[in-house]
């Protein structure tokens, strides 16, 4: 017979508990991220300062490019992070899509603006570096072109999320798009390289030299660590906001908000 169980006024406790058992609870992750985001933030600042000091002061000037090469300490880590974050975003969104995990969707959504910022940073530093190297801010270099298309992919993802009001629908739609983008990125990368060699003959490769001075390598590695820590800190903070918004009906959010 059709009937209805008495509705539970507080769905939070039992629901949060089930979430915890099934996927790792948003509440737990919220507090976990709250502990770790500042730590990663501090580490990022420390590594940035150290990396910049070693990169701008200690490292010797390049015998060809003089001091202008020093922008690689920003450019190369940014370019690396732009790709890396896209992969993290797409994989996380894919996990959320398949196993219906809210936390994964929150991570994916939080990755996008950070990744887009790194992509933009890589483009700007690449253009700035282009002026002394090529004599112009923009040439259709394979790497820069790939970064530009990647920025378009990030922008498309964020535009789609912004257009879909419903969080869950938006997250799933974004996940499909991110996964399609993930399959496409290697193809885009390869096609752009192919197109580039076709038109430019010998391309100027920025990191083409077989060996790099240890005094240049060390600050570069420090900067790599710095951008990774920054990404973790920024992403975790964003995830906390997403979780607060999405779990606003639950008791733990009420407790957080009301002290």
């Amino acid at each position: 017979m059709a009937m209805r169980k008495p509705a539970q006024p507080t769905t939070s406790r039992s629901r949060a508990w089930r979430w915890f058992h099934r996927f790792g609870s948003p509440a737990y992750f919220y507090f976990f991220a709250g502990r770790w985001a500042p730590r990663f933030g501090h580490l990022a600042v420390a590594f940035f300062l150290a990396g910049l000091y070693f990169g701008l002061v200690v490292a010797p000037p390049d015998y060809q490019m003089g001091d202008s090469y020093r922008i690689i300490f920003i450019h190369v880590p940014s370019a690396w992070m732009s790709m890396f974050i896209y992969v993290v975003m797409a994989v996380s969104a894919g996990i959320g899509l398949v196993w219906r995990i809210k936390l994964s969707h929150a991570v994916a959504r939080s990755c996008a603006p950070v990744g887009a910022a790194f992509t933009f940073c890589a483009l700007v530093t690449g253009a700035l570096w282009g002026k002394p190297t090529w004599g112009t801010y923009w040439i259709w270099d394979a790497r820069l072109t790939s970064e530009l298309v990647l920025l378009f992919l990030y922008v498309g993802y964020m535009a789609l999320l912004a257009a879909l009001d419903d969080w869950k629908t938006g997250s799933r739609a974004g996940a499909v798009l991110a996964l399609v983008g993930l399959v496409n990125i290697p193809i885009i990368h390869y096609s752009v390289e192919w197109w580039n060699t076709l038109h430019q003959g010998a391309t100027i490769t920025k990191l083409g030299r077989p060996s790099i001075d240890i005094r240049m390598l060390v600050p570069l590695l420090i900067m790599f660590a710095a951008v990774n820590f920054y990404f973790l800190a920024a992403m975790l903070n964003r995830v906390r906001c997403e979780l607060l918004d999405q779990e606003r009906r639950t008791r733990w959010v009420q407790e957080v908000v009301n002290g």
């Binding site: 017979m1 059709a2 009937m3 209805r4 169980k5 008495p6 509705a7 539970q8 769905t11 629901r15 219906r100 419903d166 606003r248 009906r249």
Partner: protein, 221 residues
């Protein structure tokens, strides 16, 4: 019951074997509002379930959860003890769904629409297109583009599609929309016949649909 003589297009044989549709601990959240939670229902062959509730209580959401178009935030719907979301459930072939949007293309005639939609069924419909339209007394509309039919006529075409369907479970969201009194009588009649043949029906309706001798249950949202 509708009393005027109808063309007797009825199934020669009913559905065989038991069938059971069951919902357990269904919860539906829209935006930040919880429409319903811990909802339980079950129905067996030969029974109908009417979902009742005021506007905005989630009748359509529940209907869509039963069709699998929308996923419940919690809980499961099972058809013959198999969760409809299981990869091997093959649930889609067992129900026919009529939503607010009737599924008819404006540019096509009822014949073309029903031909196409019939091919989407698990097996060939048991009743011819013309006969099913006769059943709803719109046999003369067979070759008129749907855009030129009235809302009531279109709804009759959409119901004819459900009636032809070989599916055992009918999921009808406001099937009496735009229908006049005689048409509601026909609808009640075909629903009763479907139930007597061993079918199952889940429906919402603001108009009363008299299912005569058949067990009708209701679910208040």
């Amino acid at each position: 019951m509708h009393s005027s003589p109808l063309p007797q297009a009825v199934r020669k044989t009913g559905f065989s074997g038991p069938a059971r549709l069951e919902g357990r601990e269904i919860e539906c959240i829209r935006g930040h509002a919880c429409l319903f939670s811990n909802l339980e229902f079950a129905l067996e062959s030969g029974t109908a379930l009417q979902i009742l509730g005021a506007n905005g209580t989630g009748k359509t959401s529940l209907i869509r959860i039963i069709t699998g178009l929308t996923e419940a935030d919690q809980g499961t719907i099972s058809w013959n003890q198999v969760n409809i979301r299981d990869p091997g459930a093959a649930y889609a072939g067992h129900f026919s769904y009529l939503g607010h949007r009737n599924g008819l293309n404006d540019a096509l005639t009822p014949r073309e629409n029903l031909h196409y939609l019939g091919k989407l069924e698990a097996s060939e419909p048991w009743l011819g297109i013309g006969d099913s339209l006769e059943q709803f007394e719109i046999g003369n509309c067979l070759n008129i583009p749907c855009a030129r039919l009235s809302a009531g006529q279109q709804q009759r075409v959409a119901l004819a599609r459900v009636y032809r369907s070989p599916a055992r479970l009918w999921v009808l969201d406001e099937p009496a929309t735009a229908l006049d009194a005689p048409a509601i009588g026909i609808l009640a009649e075909i629903m009763t016949r479907h139930l007597l043949a061993g079918g199952l029906i889940v429906y919402t309706s603001h108009q009363a649909i008299d299912l005569g001798p058949v067990t009708a249950r209701w679910l208040q949202l």
